[in-house]
């Protein structure tokens, strides 16, 4: 019995394929990024090792700071706009019952199953100055309706709206499942005591949802840092670098500005920032649990 479970050949056969894929697609590329991050490779031809020059430049790079700021703004948007709406919606939805509940849940989640490529181009059309939906709505209310939503100054807010809109259903669904897991007898007891909806929400739903909220907030912050695809298609970081995000910036540096080495240095910092953020958030929330207990 024991012997079969420590058979080296069997263990190797089970682990090897997975490990191989992981090393080939994740670990080796990261090591390669670290290497190229120390070079001035343009993408073709020869290159030199230049030490920490890329990293020194990166810390002074304004576009990189804008990228971090944009991730921060997006995270704030997720936490202060998307999530409060999502959690209230989930709580209301939970009380609706059968058909209306299923219908609304479906409607809210639908944008999430649609490809980012479609979503990004759709919003490009919605923001279109000449026939876009948004300007048509403004015209309907008597405005001029010729605003350039993706122009300088407003572009970042327009991008944030798309991202907050697109992810709403996902967050809502997780809160909704969390609320479904709350013991219904608590709500019965509250109803017998004559508690109003608002009291029930504030005193029962919110406190019990604490772990779910923590996970969801962590995921939101990480996804704000990782944002790339929507921005890539919607504005590609422009105008200038106003709507730049880290992932998009490293891509642009490598493939449009032909600074492959510099792009890899950004990749390395990008990975460090994501791991650091995850660790810090997990630690903060774990401590928080300790205090609560």
């Amino acid at each position: 019995m024991k012997k079969a479970y420590s058979n080296k050949a069997i263990i190797f056969s089970l682990v090897f394929p997975g490990i191989l894929v992981f090393i080939f697609a994740i670990l080796a590329p990261i090591c390669l990024s670290v290497y190229y991050g120390f070079t001035n490779f343009s993408g073709i031809g020869s290159y030199d090792m230049i030490g920490f020059k890329n990293y020194i430049e990166l810390f002074k790079d304004e576009a990189f700071q804008v990228s971090l700021r944009n991730s921060f703004l997006l995270a704030v948007g997720f936490i202060c706009i998307q999530h409060p709406l999502a959690i209230i919606t989930a709580a209301v939805l939970d009380k609706l019952g059968r058909h209306a509940e299923g219908f609304f849940r479906c409607v809210y989640f639908l944008p999430n199953v649609i490809s980012v490529a479609v979503i990004a181009y759709l919003w490009k059309f919605i923001y279109n100055p000449s026939f876009g939906l948004l300007n048509n709505i403004i015209k309907l209310f008597g405005g001029k309706g010729d605003f350039n939503w993706l122009g300088s100054g407003s572009a970042i807010w327009s991008v944030l709206v798309v991202l907050i809109w697109h992810g709403f259903g996902w967050g809502m669904l997780i809160y909704y499942t969390g609320i479904k897991n709350i013991d219904p007898s608590l709500y019965e007891a509250a109803a017998i005591d004559g508690a109003t909806n608002r009291t029930t929400f504030l005193r029962i739903t919110l406190p019990l949802m604490r772990p779910v909220i923590q996970v969801n907030v962590t995921l939101a912050i990480i996804s704000a840092l990782k944002q790339m695809e929507t921005v890539y298609l919607l504005t590609n970081g422009g105008p200038g670098n106003e709507t730049q995000f880290m992932a998009n910036y490293l891509y642009k540096q490598a493939f449009s500005s032909f600074r492959y080495g510099y792009g890899n240095a950004i990749s390395v910092i990008f990975i460090i920032v994501c791991i650091l953020a995850t660790q810090v958030l997990n630690r903060v929330f774990k401590q928080d649990e300790g205090v609560a207990a």
Partner: protein, 294 residues
């Protein structure tokens, strides 16, 4: 089951009571709920509406167009010139293959890490779970060079390998959590009956993991189906291009014919929307289970 039914019955009076002392807050909540629903769905209705009109009709001031004539030919152009059939087939093939391989590798890895006795099991599991934190787009640049050197660009592998690799950490996490809860006595009994490790894993343990395997499948499929950053970096010939390329390539081709662009977007979105409506319950449960991955 019984308690759930009881709870539903018990909640009924509470609901009626709420209706009696009708609070203005309820109206506010209904308005909010409906407003958000309109906000989420209206852009998609707008998309569908414009895809059936002609481009000349778009420059109106109304929100929706009542097309003089429904232009199905927009969809014909989208279907033919968007290479819909080829890209759809590629997407389906690559994603189904990725799901199957992710399931297989996750089950093998988590069995080795939770059941088998070897020194490095903790380290290997920890290392792969670390992958959850790695941003997928940070590997775009180095992977491009690797695939280029190994002549893997424009092949199936250039998509399949990273799709599997980035879904594997979550797959391992979900299956190993579930596997730990399966009592060992079952395996011991099978062992006495003369079953080998592979048979125990694939014929006894794997069927018991059904719920988490469904979750892994749904998450893998949802994540990779709509992926296009890697696809557009590693692929240049149409041979293995996936469905998002229908949209990406079309904007250049029909830059002034907006109606056809709307049609290709609607067409590209359709398969996933249909799958979602058909498998609504499973997907809802899968996302809920998969997303709370710690």
């Amino acid at each position: 089951m019984k308690t759930v039914a009881n709870a539903a019955v018990l909640q009924q009076p509470a609901l009626n009571k709420k209706k009696k002392n009708f609070q203005p807050a309820n109206i506010v909540l209904w308005v909010l709920l409906s407003f958000l629903a309109v906000l989420q769905i209206f852009p998609l209705i707008w998309l569908l509406d414009f895809s059936l009109a002609s481009s000349n009709e778009m420059f109106t001031s109304g929100l929706l167009i009542w097309p003089k004539q429904i232009r199905w030919d927009n969809y014909v152009s989208a279907f033919v010139d968007g290479h819909f059939l080829l890209y759809f087939r590629n997407s389906l093939f690559i994603n189904v293959l990725a799901v199957v391989l992710v399931l297989l590798l996750s089950v093998m890895l988590s069995f080795a890490c939770t059941r088998m006795h070897w020194k490095l099991s903790g380290l290997v599991k920890g290392l792969i779970l670390l992958g959850i934190m790695i941003p997928i787009h940070a590997t775009l640049l180095p992977n491009y060079v690797i695939y280029d050197r190994l002549h893997l660009t424009d092949t199936l592998w250039a998509l399949l390998i990273p799709y599997i690799a980035f879904s594997l950490p979550q797959g391992l996490f979900l299956t190993s959590g579930f596997m730990e809860s399966i009592p060992r006595e079952i395996e011991e009994a099978a062992m006495i009956d003369g079953a080998g490790i592979y048979r125990i894993l694939f014929q006894i343990i794997t069927p018991m993991l059904k719920t988490s395997l469904v979750t892994v499948s749904i998450m893998t499929f949802l994540n990779n189906w709509n992926e296009f950053m890697m696809a557009s970096t590693y692929l240049s010939s149409p041979k293995w291009k996936t469905l998002p390329f229908s949209v990406l390539e079309f904007t250049g081709m029909y830059s002034s014919n907006y109606a056809v662009q709307f049609a290709v977007m609607a067409l590209t979105a359709a398969p996933m929307v249909i799958i979602y409506i058909l498998l609504n319950k499973q997907i809802t449960r899968g996302v809920a289970m998969g997303a709370v991955k710690g």
